[in-house]
């Protein structure tokens, strides 16, 4: 169980590194798709079928949009060898990683170990969802009933993004 998950996450890390260092943008996008579909398998192993369904749809749409963008422009990765600020960027990256490590250490000490999570807040959801919302799927019950305003906000964000995409694509820029 843990071993299987670890192997899949290791593959995802390798695919992410390949995606970042690929010379061709199309192969970078395919490698990113590997990360996304690996995440789907992780969700299935972690007993989250709803997440797996949504992730597979979203990943496919993202891949299609990215391939469309890349085929409409250039596929070549830039020449990064002549970067003047390369030393500065590496230093900033190292500082970021060290700061994040410190915070990760702090956060991880407050968590319970993997697989030993105890229900605190969602105890009420688990016991009452079926009788109060009539939904046997607890995730759907939470999303559409207990936290309906959250879903409304999500729909607003989606709508705004769609409007934004249409507006940006229609604009005629200053020449």
């Amino acid at each position: 169980m843990e071993v299987m998950l670890s192997i899949i996450i290791c593959f995802m890390i390798i695919a992410a590194i390949v995606a970042i260092h690929a010379r061709d943008l199309l192969s970078a996008i395919i490698a990113q798709g590997f990360v996304g579909y690996g995440l789907v398998i992780c969700f299935l192993i972690l007993k989250a079928p709803d997440l797996a369904i949504v992730q597979i749809v979203v990943e496919t749409i993202t891949l299609i949009i990215m391939v469309a963008v890349v085929l409409d422009s250039s596929r070549l990765e830039l020449n990064v060898s002549f970067d003047r600020r390369k030393g500065g960027t590496t230093a900033v990256t190292f500082i970021f990683i060290i700061v994040l490590l410190v915070y990760f250490n702090r956060a991880i000490s407050g968590l319970s170990k993997f697989g030993e999570h105890t229900l605190r807040m969602s105890e009420a959801y688990v016991t009452d969802a079926a009788s109060q919302t009539g939904s046997l799927n607890l995730v759907t019950g939470i999303l559409w009933d207990f936290r309906g305003y959250d879903t409304l906000g999500e729909a607003t964000v989606l709508f705004t993004a769609a409007i934004g995409v249409l507006t940006i694509l229609r604009l005629t820029g200053k020449k």
Binding site: A19, C42, P49, V54, T62, L78, H117, V139, A161, A162
Partner: protein, 113 residues
Amino acid sequence: MTLFILCFLLFLVGIHGVLTRRNLIKVVISLTVMEFSIFLMLALIGYISGAEAPILGSEMVSGAPVVDPLPQAMVLTAIVIALATNAMLLTIAIRLYKKYGTFDIRRINELKG
């Protein structure tokens, strides 16, 4: 514990890409990898070993507990919002390409007008 650390490594790969790449598409890909690592982290936190998926029915018969449905609901919202932001980012990237003829953020910085 190893799983949390691996998840954090995935996040670090993403942040390395965001900070060091000079290609807009690569930056978007790295941001997506960071998002994926955070979704995975939340799903890992909500997992209970030996539990069933949060769909009532057969579990009531077997008596096994269900995994925490609350992180899953939150991650579901986050995945959809990530799709929206990704589409927006890619649209801006393609507009910049149409205007400047390159995805290189250094050259986009230099070109004015």
